[in-house]
Amino acid sequence: MASDSEKSSPDMSRFITDWMKSFSDTMESMAATQARMFAFPADAEGKKAAETGKAAGKTSGKTAGEAAGDDNGRGTRKSWAAMGNTWQKMFSALMAPENLEANFKGAAAVPEVAMRLAQQTADAMMTLQTRWMERAAAIGQRTKAYNFENLDKEVFKSLREIYETEFQKYLNVPQLGLNRFYQERFNRFLDKMTLFQTTLSEFLQMFYIPIEKSAMVMQEKLEQMADKGDLKDDPQAFYRLWIKVLEGHYMNLLKSPEYLQTLHKTIESLVNYNQAREDFLQDIVRHLPVPTLKEMDELYKEIYLMKKQIRSLSKKVEGNQTL
C-alpha cells in the first residue's frame, strides 16, 4: 500500500519544479535590472570615462558606460542565474522519489520543533498569568502596617525564574565559527540586560510598598478620626500625617534584610549589565579609528605610575639639594 507521501509526490515534484523555474526567472530579471542600474557611472570619474569613451564607442555603437554596464550586467546576471540553477538542481534532487520520504519526515519535524517552542512559551505565559491572578486576588487582602517581612515579590521573582529556566538557555548556547566570541558577547549583553530589567522591577516594586502601606494606615486613621468626630479641618494636617507615616514605613523598609538583599542584587545586576554592555561596545569600537576604553585604561595606568615615580624622585632630589 502506497503511503500518502508517495501518492502526493508527482504533484509535489511538479509544483516544486515550476516554483523553482519561476524563481530562477525572477532572479534573472532582477539581475538584469540591477545591471542596468549599475551601468550609470555614479562618480565624476565614471562620467569622464563615459564621455571619453563616447568617441571610441562610436565604432561599436555603444558608450564606454554602456559597455561597462553590459559587462556588469552580464556578470551579475550570470551569477544570479548560476545561483538559481543551483537551487533548482538542489530542489530537484531533494524531490527525487528516493529522497522524498526522508524529506517529508524532516519537514514534519519542523512544525514539531516549532510546536515545542510555542508550547514552552505558552506554558511560561500561563504560569505568569496564574501568578498575576494570584497577586490580583491578594490585593484585596489586608497588608500589615510597618511590616516588611515575607514581601510579595512573587510576580517579579516569577518573571526572572521563567526567564532563567525557559529563555536564558537559548542565549547560552555555545556559538560556532569565526564570529563566535562576538556573538557570545552580544548574547551575554542581552542576557544581563534582561536580568537587570527584572531585578530593577523587583527593586522598584519594593520601593512602592511603603506608599501602599501608608495609604492603608491613613485610611484607618481617617476612619478613626471620623468615628471620633475629630477630623482635621486643615488639609495640610493630613499631608503632614501622611508624610510622617510614609517616612516611618520607609525607615522600616530600608533597614530590613529583604531590602538590603534586593538592593545589592540590583547593584550586582547593574554592574553585570554595564560590564556586558561595555564588552559588546568594545567590539564595535574596535572597528572604528578610536582607542578602546581598555587601551585607554592601560595607558592611564602607565601614566599614573610614571607620574608617581617622577614625583617621588623629584622629592628625593629636592631633599638632597636642601641638605
Partner: protein
C-alpha cells in the same frame, strides 16, 4: 436637627481658602521664577595659588590678618567645598575671614577616567602633603592648622598621624572614624556593598549613583516633602534663591576615584581599620596615638550620614592631651549652613585656634621652622604674621608667654563634651 459629627462645612471652607491661596501663590511664584534670581555660589573672592593635576588650592585673604598660622580646609571627595561658602550671611569661610584667619581650601576638582587609580595615599601623602608644604613654604612656617570635613576629615586624621610635625592644630567636623555602627543607614548598606565590583565596572564611582543612594536614605523627606516645601514657598524670592543654591550644591557632585572609593569602603566601612590603628596608607600604619596636637571634634546629633557614634570615639583614641568633642543639635549639612550653627560653629573654631596660638606663643611656629620655612623666611618671600588683636586671649598671650612652648592648661586637657543648643535639623 442633630449636630453633624464631622465639620464638613469647615473642611470645605478651608479647602476653598487653600485653593485661593494656592492660586495667589502660583501667580506670585511665576513672577519670582521668571524674574532674575541671585543663586550664585561662592560669593567670597579667592585666588588659586597652587594647582596639581585636577586639584586646586584656593586662598582666601582677610582684610586684616590676625592669626600667625593659616587654616587649611580639606573637603570630602563627595560633593564640593562650595558648601562652606554657599551664600552671603551663610558662609563659614566669610566667618573665618571676618575674624582675621587666613583660609586655604582644597578644591579636589572633577576626577576623570584617568584618575581611577588614585588611592587614599595619593590624596593624603601626595596632593595634601604637597599643598601643606606649599603653604608652609609660602608663610615660612613649620606647621599649619588643619580642618577636615567628613571624608576630608578622615584624610586629615590620617595626615596628622603620618605627618604630625606639619600640623599645629587639628579640627575634625562630621568625620567618621568608627565605622562599626548600625546607627546610620549608610553604615548598614556599605558593610555589604560590592565596592570592588562597582569600581571595577565604573572605574570612578559615579556621582549620580551616589546621589541616588543619598536620596534613598530618606525618600519621604528628600524626594517628596522637600519639593512640597518648595512649592509651598515658591512665591518667596529669598526662599527660592536659597533652595536653588542648595540644589546646585547637592547635585554638583564629582565622581570619586575608583581606587580611593574601593579602599575607603573596604578598609573603613567594612573592616573599620582606622580606629583600630590598623589602617595602612602608602605602606605606613596609621597610628592615632601619633596625633598629639590639639584636637577639636565637631559632629551633629541628628546626622543621618555620619551619626555621633561614628565620630565620638576619635578623641579617646588619639595621643593628644588637649582635645574636645562638640555635638551640635543639627544634621550633616546643617552644621555648616544653618543660621544658628553659623553663630556657633565657625566662631568656636576661630576662638579655639586663637587660644591655642596664644598659648603656643607667637614665635613657636617660626623659631622651630623647617629648612624650607627658614629658607623661605630668609628669602623674605612672606614673613609670618603675629596675631594683632584677639581680646582677652591675646592679652594673655602677650603677657609673658611669647616664644615659649607651653603645655595646655589642665582645664582643657582630656575630652570635654559640650552640647550646643542649636536646633536646626537637616
Amino acid at each position: 436637627m442633630s449636630q453633624p459629627k464631622i465639620a464638613v462645612d469647615l473642611i470645605l471652607k478651608n479647602l476653598a481658602e487653600s485653593s485661593e491661596k494656592s492660586q495667589e501663590r502660583a501667580k506670585k511664584a511665576s513672577e519670582v521664577l521668571l524674574g532674575p534670581l541671585e543663586t550664585d555660589l561662592c560669593p567670597t573672592p579667592y585666588d588659586v595659588v597652587y594647582e596639581e593635576d585636577r586639584v586646586k588650592l584656593k586662598y582666601y585673604k582677610p582684610e586684616t590678618v590676625k592669626y600667625k598660622i593659616p587654616l587649611l580646609v580639606v573637603y570630602a571627595l563627595i560633593n564640593r567645598e562650595t558648601m562652606l561658602d554657599l551664600q552671603p550671611g551663610r558662609s563659614v569661610v566669610q566667618s573665618f575671614l571676618d575674624r582675621g584667619l587666613e583660609v586655604y581650601m582644597v578644591d579636589w576638582g572633577y576626577p576623570g577616567r584617568k584618575d581611577q587609580y588614585l588611592t587614599i595615599d595619593d590624596h593624603v601623602n601626595g596632593y595634601m602633603d604637597n599643598m601643606i608644604d606649599f603653604i608652609r613654604k609660602r608663610h615660612g612656617l613649620p606647621k599649619v592648622h588643619l580642618m577636615g570635613i567628613c571624608m576630608g576629615g578622615v584624610f586629615c586624621v590620617i595626615y596628622s598621624s603620618l605627618h604630625p610635625d606639619k600640623v599645629q592644630n587639628l579640627v575634625t567636623t562630621v568625620t567618621p572614624t568608627n565605622f562599626d555602627t548600625d546607627k546610620g543607614l549608610l553604615h548598614i548598606w556599605m558593610k555589604s556593598a560590592a565596592a570592588d565590583r562597582m569600581s571595577e565596572c565604573y572605574r570612578n564611582m559615579p556621582a549620580d549613583l551616589m546621589n541616588l543612594g543619598f536620596l534613598l536614605l530618606n525618600p519621604a523627606r528628600l524626594i517628596i516633602d522637600k519639593y512640597v516645601g518648595f512649592f509651598e514657598n515658591m512665591d518667596n524670592r529669598a526662599f527660592v534663591e536659597n533652595f536653588i543654591r542648595m540644589e546646585k550644591w547637592i547635585f554638583d557632585s564629582p565622581d570619586v576615584p575608583g581606587a580611593t572609593f574601593r579602599q575607603f569602603i573596604t578598609d573603613c566601612y567594612k573592616q573599620n581599620l582606622l580606629i583600630k590603628n590598623r589602617l595602612e596608607v602608602g605602606g605606613k600604619r596609621v597610628n592615632l596615638k601619633n596625633i598629639t596636637m590639639p584636637l577639636l571634634n565637631f559632629y551633629g546629633k541628628f546626622d543621618h550620614l555620619v551619626p555621633p557614634e561614628a565620630c565620638e570615639l576619635l578623641t579617646g583614641e588619639v595621643g593628644s592631651k588637649d582635645k574636645e568633642d562638640i555635638c551640635l543639635d543639627t544634621g550633616h549639612i546643617g552644621i555648616y549652613v544653618s543660621s544658628k550653627c553659623q553663630r556657633e560653629f565657625a566662631p568656636k573654631i576661630a576662638n579655639w585656634l586663637a587660644t591655642r596660638e596664644a598659648d603656643e606663643g607667637p614665635d613657636e611656629g617660626t623659631k622651630e621652622g623647617t629648612k624650607e620655612g627658614t629658607e623661605e623666611k630668609a628669602a623674605s618671600k612672606k614673613p609670618a604674621r603675629a596675631p594683632r588683636s584677639r581680646g582677652g586671649k591675646t592679652d594673655k598671650a602677650k603677657s609673658g608667654k611669647t616664644g615659649a612652648k607651653k603645655a595646655k592648661p589642665k582645664k582643657s586637657a582630656g575630652s570635654t563634651r559640650s552640647r550646643n543648643t542649636a536646633t536646626d535639623k537637616k
